[in-house]
Amino acid sequence: MGRYVARRLIQFIPVILGTLFLLHLLSTLTIQVVGDPVRALFGENAPPAAVIDQMRADYNLDDACLEQPGNPCLGLFVDRLGQYAGGDFGINFRGRAVTEMFIERFPVTVRLTIIALVFETVVGILMGVLAGLRKDKFADNFVRFFTVALVAFPTFVFGTLAQLFIGLQLGLELRNSDWAPDWLGQMLNVGYNADYPWLSLVLPGVVLGSFSLASIARLTRTSLIENLRSDYVRTARAKGLRTRRIVGIHTLRNSLIPVVTYIGIDIGLLLGGALVTEGIFNIPGVGQLVWLAIQSNDTPVIIGVVTILTIVFLVANLLVDILYAALDPRIRYE
């Protein structure tokens, strides 16, 4: 196990460097091709050149290489890595540290992601098990169709509809009623409510998680069906175990291995998806930060936050890989 973890850790380093470089390359190219974001801050009427130059210097945008399209700006990359190592992911165009902004907002996104993950795994696995046990029956077809339909529906449409019909109609009704408990109304809120840091994220979390629901349900279904045919299930039956135990303990544990792998990939989807969900539901998380930065052309924020998110994603993947090893002893002793 120790060696496995160590090897994953070591593999992690070139990958993260490579990903950061890719990101650096893209952002550099953007500045080279599209133009200087500092200039864009001031609209049609350019401020005195001295002001612009000062700002360029403040934001490390004064490197000559940024004016040569195609130049990978290796020097800048090295500088950036040094800053990243020190926890400095730049400042936004209003002088606030990206790291600080990120840390302030990250807990909200983490909560949202956790709710989405819990929703999609619990419901997804339940649906998958149901479909797997009732293969080719109505329940199976229903689950397959339903989850695919969710995939097909763009998140932003789904989110808007959920916000409007659940949050604003049903939820408002509940919040204004005397009989409904407070938590219920908050669970179906139209947006984030800082007084209910978890509950008010439930509806957006469900919207966010619904996209991956299909994949999890399908993965569970497929691997459950496969595992139900396996020899060790036959052994478990020969041991006189109850069906519930055979499915719930013997088969499910094995079937969850691909699901866990998928969750690793899914964290990336969720972090990206949080952009849309947080935008629609006005949730003060990291996704909203990116959303706002896009609107205000705050390039340093976009690059800084995407960089941190990429690191978060890679670290999460690393953790998932280790969890994977914990689930599957065959990997552990590789």
Partner: protein, 350 residues
């Protein structure tokens, strides 16, 4: 068997089996006219068609046959672990101590499976759950069927592993199946089968995947344990050598039928069915160089659409026209043996 295991059995909380009246004077296991069908996309496959045999305590019955002949299905039907659907037991009786298992409710049957009849499978690696330790899988039996605590179950698992000759059992209970060698894994399977002290063990090709020297070890272990505990052992195999070595009587199966049943000595000396005879002639022997092998022509029939009459007739050297139309009954042969061949006398004397 160790003291604690027996004790444990006595302590067992109100087993559903207490309501079932087993007749201790009845034979250990009687299978009568067992019929199993598989519903496949292309039709109904009659996997087992009227298999009958009796197994007494301390006796070893060999079920011999090639792949697809229905021997494993028979075993799984006895255990009650066939996948239903597509499989379905359509007739016959499986009586354990006089009680028909096929009529039991699932809950009672489950307890019979754990406590009375156990099974060992061919591929121990895939038959053990890869994600749980061996100790956990052994202990599960005690926890689920005897209400043992985790600690007790673990202690019992160690005992069992020691009993089947796994060295350093105390440490190895924490290992996962893939960390064991093939032979050791099969020992774990045997330990698991013996855990709740059953009366009958069905071993389905227990040594096929093993090397000969390991096979010898495992067979020796199985034989010792059987003798010691007076178990009824059903050994399912295609290996004529293994059968000859350990069984008391043999049931030969072909295309879902039990074509011949006899005492092990008689069968090898004077086979009473052309299929048995052909099989014996087609295998090379380690102790003789021998001449050219007498191969059986053709292939085993498909179970969905078997040939009419005797299902062996297309490959049979003794076959006549009658064999193509009349399905042979099980003829009673002298010496308490049976053969499903119209011309059994001719075969016996050839």
């Amino acid at each position: 068997m160790s003291e604690t295991l027996t004790e444990n059995r006595k302590r067992q909380p109100r087993s559903p089996l207490s309501g079932v009246k087993f007749d201790d004077s009845a034979p250990l296991l009687e299978v009568e006219n067992l019929q199993v069908e598989f519903h496949t996309r292309d039709g109904i496959a009659k996997a087992v068609q009227g298999v009958s045999f009796t197994l007494n305590a301390g006796e070893t019955l060999g079920i011999l046959g090639e792949s697809g002949c229905g021997k494993s299905v028979t075993a799984q039907a006895i255990m009650g672990i066939l996948d239903t659907p597509p499989a379905k037991v359509t007739g016959g009786q499986v009586r354990y101590r006089g009680v028909d298992l096929l009529q039991m409710d699932e809950k009672t049957r489950r307890h019979v499976r754990a406590n009375k009849i156990a099974m060992i499978f061919q591929d121990a690696l895939s038959s053990l759950n890869p994600v749980f330790t061996v100790g956990w899988q052994l202990g599960e039996l005690y926890r689920q069927h005897a209400g043992a605590s985790r600690k007790e179950a673990r202690a019992k698992a160690v005992e069992l592993l020691e009993m089947v000759g796994i060295p350093a059992a105390r440490d190895r209970v924490n290992d996962f199946p893939h960390q064991f060698s093939g032979g050791m894994r099969q020992r774990v399977m045997i330990a698991m089968a013996l855990a709740l002290q059953p009366d009958i063990i069905i071993a389905d090709e227990p040594t096929t995947a093993l090397d000969v020297t390991v096979q010898a070890q495992v067979m020796a272990l199985l034989a010792d344990l059987q003798r010691e505990m007076q178990l009824g052992l059903i050994l399912i195999t295609h290996d004529m050598g293994v059968v000859a070595d350990v069984t008391d009587k043999i049931c030969v199966m072909y295309a879902g039928h039990a074509v011949e049943q006899a005492n092990v000595y008689e069968i090898y000396e004077r086979p009473g069915h052309p299929y048995t005879k052909a099989l014996l002639e087609s295998i090379p022997r380690v102790d003789q160089k021998g001449e050219e092998l007498t191969a059986i022509k053709g292939l085993p029939p498909a179970l969905v659409n078997p040939p009419p009459g005797c299902s062996f007739h297309p490959r049979c050297a003794f076959a006549r026209d009658r064999c193509k139309t009349d399905e042979p009954p099980l003829y009673q042969l002298p010496g308490n043996r049976e053969s499903a061949c119209h011309y059994w006398e001719e075969v016996l004397n050839s």
